[in-house]
């Protein structure tokens, strides 16, 4: 039982803790799991989260940065003032829990639609676009020398990867070809500055409270690259959840995002941001097609995956709105 395994490792990072209760799995595929639990302590219980690969699943697949890197990045982000859960413990072999880490649980909402609609976030919402600009600047300002080893991406390589993946599906989507062509012709070349890029910085990967952003989550896709990539990704229409006139996660305007970023002492290149928004829209479209592929071929034969395949056309209309608009707005 996971509670007894967790209890055994408490002494390493929380002296005085007497046990663990309320463990529940929040999400999990075959190779990665997230659990919530409470650490029982005489000074008051501490809410915690375990992220781990169970024993036998060591290696991070494909693009993933790996759990050790995620933990290292969250510690660096926390130290840099980026709202981030405090990492309490890195799993060691003696813990017998697999690989991963334990972090302090941050209370708040992650479900994008609730954040965009519920009254308790009404006061925070108009401030979020600007706040997210400042947070992105904090992430991009972390010194290269402190970072763990991460894959390095640039626009040209990303275009080639998306093209290869799209062609592997062997299903023609003329709008995707239009987007790939546009990306190749508008490739801004290597970024003058290469920084830490969060890689999945968007509404849905943030813990929000009535006071604003409380934590940035999901560092799984972190890499080195063009910092403008994060600003473009958060503007992708798929993360506006219906609030299509508020490009930044459905919260606010690009101008607010950029103002927050520049107020933190960093420079925005709006042309590159637009390029990465187009790239991000295509990327999500290709990911939707990939879900359908895994539904058909893989072990995950779920209706959810199948239906996500039928969302690729959402990115086609968004690509047309970006590249061949018919009118304003």
């Amino acid at each position: 039982m996971i509670e007894s395994e967790l209890s055994r490792c408490l002494a390493a990072f929380m002296p005085g803790a007497t046990g663990v209760r309320g463990a529940a799995k929040l999400s999990g595929g075959a190779s990665q799991e997230t659990w919530r639990f409470d650490i029982v302590h005489p000074d008051g219980d501490v809410g915690a989260i375990l992220r781990r690969s169970p024993k036998g699943y060591g290696a991070a697949p494909g693009r993933a940065a790996g759990l050790d890197n995620e933990a290292a990045l969250m510690r660096l982000a926390h130290a840099a003032g980026v709202p981030s859960p405090e990492v309490l413990h890195l799993l060691a072999p003696a813990d017998d829990l697999g690989t991963g880490f334990i972090m302090r649980r941050v209370e708040g909402e992650t479900i994008a639609r609730k954040i965009l609609r519920d009254a308790e976030f009404a006061e925070a919402r108009p401030r979020l676009a600007r706040q997210l600009g400042g947070i992105a600047a904090g992430i991009h300002g972390i010194a290269r020398a402190e970072l763990p080893e991460l894959r390095e991406m640039n626009a040209t390589r990303e275009i080639a990867e998306l093209a290869r993946e799209y062609h592997s599906f062997d299903w023609p989507r003329p709008v995707f070809d239009l987007a790939l062509r546009w990306l190749s012709q508008n490739d801004p070349g290597p970024s003058a500055e290469v920084t830490l890029v969060h890689g999945d910085f968007r509404n849905g990967n943030l813990i929000i409270g009535p006071d604003g952003v409380r934590a940035v989550l999901d560092w799984e896709l972190a890499h080195l690259g063009d910092p403008m990539e994060d600003l473009g990704w958060i503007c992708v229409n798929s993360w506006r959840f219906g609030e299509i006139d508020k490009p930044v996660g459905g919260f606010g305007s690009r101008e607010e995002l950029f103002a927050g970023y520049e107020a933190a002492g960093r420079k925005v290149d709006p042309g590159r941001v637009k390029f990465w928004e187009v790239m991000g829209t295509l990327r999500w479209g290709v990911m939707c097609c990939g879900m359908m592929q895994r539904f058909r071929e893989g072990p995950d034969h779920s209706m959810e995956r199948a239906m996500i395949g039928r969302r690729a056309s959402e990115t086609e209309i968004d690509l047309l709105r970006l590249l061949a608009p018919r009118g304003e707005g």
Binding site: P174, D177, R240, R310, E316, I317, D318, L320, R326
Partner: protein, 128 residues
């Protein structure tokens, strides 16, 4: 010849039963999954009723654009290749209109509640 009721009527009846009679009895993750399932059945009904005329119109446009005849899938492959090579682009007469019409017809089946679709469908069919 297969008898009535039609596939559309059968799937629609099952979707309505799940929505009206079963969904109110279920909660949590299973309710979420049921909603996804009902959405899938609704999509199938839309495809059964809307895809044939849309496909026929798309096919006619592709024949015009490409000056060739063939299966819908093959003509789409051909168009994709021509866009990729730059042989046609948004300045090519009819291409922009074709991509928009085809995409709107896909969304009408896939995700008619998607906000971008509602905005663009609201512009009417008078072209760009």
């Amino acid at each position: 010849m297969q008898d009535e009721p039609t596939p559309t009527e059968l799937v629609q009846a099952v979707a309505d039963f799940l929505r009206n009679d079963i969904a109110p009895m279920i909660s949590g993750h299973q309710a979420f999954k049921l909603r996804v399932g009902i959405n899938a059945l609704d999509l199938v009904v839309r495809q059964l009723t809307q895809a044939a005329p849309a496909d026929a119109a798309e096919h006619a446009r592709l024949k015009d654009l490409l000056g060739q005849n063939g299966e819908l899938l093959d003509l789409n492959r051909m168009l994709a290749e021509q866009i990729a090579s730059g042989a046609v682009d948004l300045a090519t007469p009819g291409l922009k209109e074709h991509l928009w019409r085809t995409t709107l017809d896909k969304l009408a089946v896939d995700q008619p509640n998607y906000a971008s679709y509602k905005r663009e469908a609201g512009r009417g069919t008078n072209g760009p």
